[in-house]
C-alpha cells in the first residue's frame, strides 16, 4: 500500500495552532517559529520511514518489546 508522504510545507502557522488546540495546548507567539521548524524537521525525517514498504500483518508491533 502506498502511504501519503508528509509535506513539510503543509506545516504552517494555521496547522500547528489547530493541531495544538486539539491537544489542549495554546501556543504563544514566541513558541510558534520553533514549533513549526521542529515539526517540519520531524516530517522530513519521518518521510524515509513512511515510504518504506512493510507487510501489514508480519510487521505488526508488539505491546511489550522483548528482543
Amino acid at each position: 500500500m502506498e502511504r501519503a508522504q508528509p509535506d513539510p510545507a503543509l506545516i504552517d502557522e494555521a496547522f500547528v495552532r489547530r493541531a495544538a488546540a486539539l491537544q489542549g495546548i495554546v501556543l504563544t507567539d514566541g513558541q510558534l517559529p520553533g514549533v513549526i521548524a521542529n515539526l517540519q524537521r520531524t516530517a522530513q525525517i519521518a518521510a524515509s520511514v513512511n515510504e518504506f514498504p512493510l507487510d501489514q500483518v508480519v510487521d505488526e508491533i508488539g505491546p511489550v518489546w522483548r528482543p
Binding site: 493541531a19 495544538a20 495546548i25 521542529n38 520531524t42 519521518a46 508491533i61 508488539g62 528482543p67
Partner: protein
C-alpha cells in the same frame, strides 16, 4: 587519589587495609575540589553515605562479607529515585514533586553489594539531549576540555567518572545517552539489553527504548556494577524474568572463536575519517577483517527519532498544556511540536522496528560482535549549534546520536569503549552484540583493554 578502580578500592576495604569511612572522606573532599570545574553533581548524600560506609566497616570488622563492591563510592543520574530527594530528571518542573519515598532498586542492589551512594548527577532535561547543556543547573563540562560538552544525556555520570570524582556511576540510555557521553569523556559504559536491568524507580523518557546502565574506567568495574544490579523485577513490565547471568568471571575468556566484524556503510559514512580509522585499528588488533552493513540503519535512526518524539512528548503532555515555558528552553518547542506527530507516523515507525529487528538478527547468525564508532566525532564546544561530518553540515546536538540510535532502537546490548584521542579529545567505539549477550560485549572490552587498544586516559589537567 581519584582514578583508583572500583574493584581495587573494594579489595582494599574487604581486606581491612582501608576503612570505607576514611576512603569516603577523601572522595567527598575530591568532589568538592573538582566538581566546580565540571558541574557533574547536582546533590551530595553525605550523611547517608557515611552511614553506608560505617556499615561496610562494621561488616569487615565482624568478619562478615561486606559485598563485592564494599565501600566503592558511586553516584547516579538524577532521574533515579533516591529516598528523601526529589527526582529532578534535570528539570525545574519536577522540583514541585514530593521527595522519593524509596530508592531505585538498582541503587538498593548496589548498596546490597557494599557500594556507597555519594550523590546525584546532572543531565539533559528529561534525558532529551546529547549534550547536558542544562539551562536550569548549568552545563556539565568535559574533564578533558572544560569548554566542551561532556555529551548527554547522562553527561554528569560520564564527567564524574572521567574527572576522577567517583569510579562508578549510573546513567540511562534511550537513544545513546550512555554511549555518547562515554565516547566524548573517554570512559567505558554499558547499555545492557532492553529489559535486562529494571527501570523501576527511574523517571522515564521513551518507554520503548529506555535502558539503565553503568559507567566506569575499566571493563572490570563495569562488569562488577552490572552483575550487582541484575535480576528480575515485577515492577518493570519489560524487565526479564529469570535469574541473573553474571559476566564478571567471564572477562578473561578472550575472543578466540568469536566472529567479529566492523560496521561499514552508514556507520562509516557518518563518522569523521579519523574516528573511522581508530575503529579500523581496533578491528585490526582483534584480527577482525570482515565488514558488514547493518541494513537500513539510517531509516532505523529516523524511526527511533519519530518514536522518541511521540512517546517523549506524550509523557509530558499535561505540563506542556499548563506550563510549557517552564521546560528547558532548548527542548520546549521540540516537545510542543512532537505532540502533533500523526499516529500513522508513529505506528509505521514501530512496525519498521519489527522488520529491522528481524533483519539485524539475520546478521547475528553470521557474526557475534559488530564494532562501530560511538559518536561521529569528539566533543563539540558548549554552545556549538552545528558540526560538519564528512562535508555535511548538520545540527550538532541531535546528530551526536546518529550512530547510537540504530542500535538502541532494537534494544541490543552495547559496550562503549575509549579507543583513542584526537587532538587531545577522546572518542569511543560501540561493541554491539545479539540480545542478552552482554558477556560477549564485555569480553571484547576486556581484550581490547589488555591489548592497550582501549583505555581510560586521565585528563591532562584535573578539573
Amino acid at each position: 587519589m581519584g582514578f583508583e578502580s572500583g574493584v581495587g578500592i573494594a579489595a582494599e576495604i574487604r581486606s581491612g587495609r582501608l576503612k570505607a569511612a576514611d576512603h569516603l572522606a577523601g572522595v567527598f573532599a575530591g568532589i568538592k575540589a573538582r566538581n566546580p570545574g565540571v558541574n557533574a553533581f547536582v546533590s551530595l548524600t553525605e550523611s547517608r553515605a557515611l552511614d553506608e560506609a560505617k556499615a561496610v566497616d562494621a561488616s569487615v570488622a565482624a568478619g562478615r562479607d561486606p559485598g563485592p563492591l564494599a565501600g566503592v563510592p558511586f553516584a547516579v543520574k538524577n532521574l533515579l529515585d533516591v529516598k528523601g530527594l526529589t527526582t529532578l530528571a534535570g528539570s525545574r518542573i519536577n522540583r514541585d514533586l514530593p521527595a522519593a519515598s524509596a530508592d531505585s532498586p538498582l541503587i538498593s542492589r548496589l548498596n546490597a553489594a557494599g557500594a556507597v551512594l555519594v550523590g546525584t548527577l546532572n543531565m539533559d532535561e528529561y534525558a532529551y539531549g546529547f549534550s547536558t547543556e542544562n539551562t536550569h543547573y548549568g552545563p556539565t563540562r568535559n574533564p578533558h576540555d572544560p569548554e566542551r560538552i561532556a555529551g548527554g544525556s547522562s553527561g554528569g555520570s560520564a564527567a564524574a567518572v572521567a574527572g576522577g570524582l567517583v569510579p562508578i556511576t549510573l546513567g540511562s540510555d534511550t537513544n545513546g545517552s550512555i554511549r555518547v557521553p562515554s565516547s566524548l569523556c573517554g570512559i567505558f559504559g554499558l547499555k545492557p539489553t532492553y529489559g535486562r536491568l529494571t527501570r523501576a524507580g527511574s523517571f522515564p523518557f521513551v518507554a520503548s527504548f529506555d535502558h539503565v546502565g553503568p559507567f566506569g574506567r575499566s571493563s572490570a568495574d563495569l562488569a562488577a556494577a552490572y552483575d550487582a544490579m541484575q535480576g528480575p523485577d515485577p515492577r518493570d513490565p519489560v524487565c526479564r524474568p529469570g535469574p541473573a547471568e553474571p559476566v564478571g568471571s567471564q572477562l578473561r575468556l578472550g575472543t578466540e572463536g568469536l566472529r567479529i566484524a566492523r560496521a561499514g556503510g552508514y556507520f562509516e559514512a557518518n563518522a569523521e575519517k579519523a574516528v573511522a580509522e581508530l575503529v579500523k585499528s581496533a578491528c585490526a588488533a582483534l584480527g577482525a577483517t570482515r565488514t558488514v552493513e547493518v541494513p537500513e540503519a539510517g531509516r532505523a535512526r529516523a524511526a527511533a527519532f519519530v518514536i522518541t518524539a511521540t512517546e517523549g512528548s506524550q509523557l509530558h503532555l499535561a505540563n506542556l498544556r499548563k506550563r510549557a515555558d517552564d521546560f528547558e528552553p532548548m527542548i520546549r518547542d521540540r516537545l510542543l511540536a512532537n505532540t502533533m506527530v500523526p499516529a500513522a507516523w508513529y505506528v509505521q515507525a514501530q512496525r519498521f522496528r519489527r522488520w529491522y529487528y528481524a533483519e539485524v538478527m539475520k546478521l547475528f547468525s553470521e557474526v557475534d560482535v559488530i564494532l562501530a564508532p560511538a559518536t561521529p566525532r569528539p566533543a563539540t564546544k558548549i554552545g556549538q549549534d552545528t558540526m560538519t561530518i564528512n562535508g555535511v553540515e548538520m545540527l550538532s546536538r541531535p546528530n551526536m546520536g546518529l550512530l547510537t540510535q540504530p542500535v538502541s532502537f532494537i534494544g541490543l546490548p552495547v559496550a562503549a569503549v575509549p579507543i583513542g584521542m584526537l587532538d587531545g579529545l577522546p572518542v569511543g567505539m560501540q561493541v554491539i552484540c545479539a540480545p542478552w549477550r552482554e558477556d560477549l560485549c564485555l569480553r571484547v572490552c576486556a581484550v581490547l583493554e589488555k591489548m592497550g587498544v582501549a583505555k581510560f586516559t586521565p585528563p591532562k589537567e584535573q578539573p
